[in-house]
């Protein structure tokens, strides 16, 4: 592999890791505060859809930015709904996520037909595409910088201590005067908005198309990455690079004639999922989730 090919491979890996990293970082934040959101897959899909809608509706030089912000916004809105149901109404954490995923699975193909009059995919117009800096997307740069920042906030500041204490022991946090629900709600909203941004990145930037299966399990791969990273943003950065690498490797191997002759492409498609499963099951020893994650906190 020559230098140019290696560079192209690196760029592709950066693209592939960006949505998983953003989504996982958001979920790490939410789970550190004790809220699980398995609706990430749906939020990615809706972020991808709403991002394109907003960017194309504006149609000016700011289109890409507005599209990305719209993706962020729809994520935040769903995060708000999730926070209302889980942090405030003390409901089950998993069920609303399942609902959002189901809704997105219906709404995205529905809107592709109704809004874009196309069954299955929409090519994003050039003016709505996010411009690149030396081949790298600004969203990727943002995600790469966000990881250490989030690590610093979580483990080196009092805000981080507050968030972690809510996830570890809400009773104790409550006793010392922390607004448990408010902290959980803010973490959930920021977390979900990052998933929305990840979706908008996929449709407006990386793939520049909107398809009905755009997320393709990435929301769940991000969930796996959260476990894999031991709820640590810096380890999530490494994990996302690993998953991104295998995602790209699959696509590259697929078009190699020597491989194509031996292994059918349909089986190569299983690679990222098998790697994820193996990573969560074996590579890492024991991980310890925040003690109170996923349980509704009810005051006595």
């Amino acid at each position: 592999m020559d230098a140019h090919t290696a560079w192209l491979f690196t760029l592709s890996t950066l693209d592939a890791m960006t949505p998983i990293l953003l989504t996982a970082l958001g979920e790490i934040l939410a789970e550190r505060a004790g809220i699980v959101n398995i609706g990430l897959e749906g939020i990615i899909m809706l972020g991808a859809m709403v991002g394109v809608m907003a960017a194309e509706a504006v149609h000016n030089p700011l289109s890409p930015l507005i599209g990305l912000l719209a993706g962020l916004g729809i994520g935040a809105a769903i995060g708000l709904l999730h926070a209302a149901l889980t942090a405030y109404l003390k409901g089950d954490h998993i069920i609303p996520g399942v609902g959002i995923n189901t809704l997105a699975l219906g709404l995205v193909p529905f809107m592709l037909i109704v809004y874009w009059h196309s069954a299955g995919q929409h090519q994003v117009y050039n003016y709505a595409r996010v411009p690149r800096i030396g081949g790298i997307s600004p969203v990727t740069i943002f995600a790469l910088i966000l990881a250490p920042i989030m690590w610093y906030i979580l483990f080196r500041t009092s805000i981080g201590l507050t968030i972690r204490s809510v996830g570890e022991n809400p009773e104790a946090a409550d006793t010392v005067g922390i607004h448990v629900e408010r902290v959980q709600a803010i973490a959930t909203i920021i977390g979900a908005s990052l998933a929305g941004l990840a979706g908008a990145f996929m449709s407006l930037d990386w793939l520049s198309t909107l398809t009905k299966e755009i997320a393709a399990g990435r929301g769940f791969i991000a969930l796996a990455l959260v476990v894999f990273s031991d709820w640590n943003p810096l380890r999530a950065l490494g994990g996302a690079a690993l998953f991104g690498f295998f995602d790209v490797l699959r696509e590259w191997v697929k078009i190699m004639p020597s491989v194509k002759a031996v292994v059918p492409d349909t089986l190569l498609n299983t690679i990222p999922y098998i790697v994820t499963l193996a990573a969560v099951a074996g590579v890492l020893g024991r991980v310890r989730p925040p003690r109170h994650v996923g349980q509704p906190y009810k005051r006595e």
């Binding site: 069920i95 609902g99 995923n101 529905f110 109704v114 393709a216 999922y273 098998i274 969560v280």
Partner: protein
Amino acid sequence: MAQAERLEVSRTRLPEWLVEGLLRLGESVIALLVGLLVGAIIMYLSGYDAVEAYKSLFGMSLFDSYGLTGTLSFTAPIMLTGITFAVGVRAGLFNIGAEGQLYMGALGAVLVAWLATYKIRLLDSVLGTLFAYTIGVVLALVWAYIAGILKVKRGVHEVVSTIMLNWIAFWIVEYFRVYVVYNPEDPSKTISVPTHARLPLLVPDTELSATIIVSILFSLFVYYLLWYTVTGYELRAAGLNPLAARYAGIKTEKAIMISFLVGGIASGLAGAGEVLGRPPHYAITTGLSNLYGLGFDGITVALIGANHPIGIIFAAILVGALKSGARYMQIYAGVPLEMVRVVEGVIIVALAVPGTLRMLREYLRRRRELAELQKG
């Protein structure tokens, strides 16, 4: 004394299980109405006639005899995938692997169809039907077992593992569809189950086959298993409070494995049944389009049916009506049938609002008590 009085009052009212059941029913009905309302709003905003859409949807799926057979044939697989999810919840799991297990079940049936067509002609008979169900269930069991063993031995959360297994199953079945059990005369599907190995149709010239009977019988079996056997008791105890169950000598790992395996059987039956009993294809179509989503629909079914096998039978008919009616909604009102999945999603979100009615009941009770106090 106040406590004794309260006991006296409660004894004269309806039995607790009935009140509880009616509340759960109320929650499901409200969630359903919210889902339909949000669906109507989205249709209105998209320029469709929501009233016309729902009229054609429910009118045909529930109040037309041919439409009703369609509804029941849609009901059959999602009743079983609903059982998969519900048995998981009863053991304290969120097993969303029904989708992948259903693919594997269908693959098993198609593999037998391939054998019956090219290798063992003897299988073009009832023998083939039974063999196809068996292989389908075995493959689905393998898929459920992997998730179970990862959970029990490695602590892998089932939401993550089952979703990955769903995707792996998807591509494996696609591989077989394209490269092994393809239909040489029609590239849009796999080979079909030969005529004599198919499940009999209950009503001629419809899609309704014996799969619905399999589904109802298995649901009743799971009801019996959960509430009338020691295994079922242990499974539910492990789900309600794993620590207490372990303290009482119940092996929670075993309960979890059994829950996965019973779920696997249900989804395997669903997948094999779709191939063996669904005209006109009796096969797996391109992109698994005739299977895709049946596992996820089971989650909706289980949640509406309050994770109770009997509730699931009725919830499956309802969701089956939505799915079957979606076709008529598309034909007569022009609304894309994906709309139904939006409605489903909203129903689930609405079901997540925890015990709205329960809170209302609590509020009314307190108000009544307060009023009684003031009177006295």
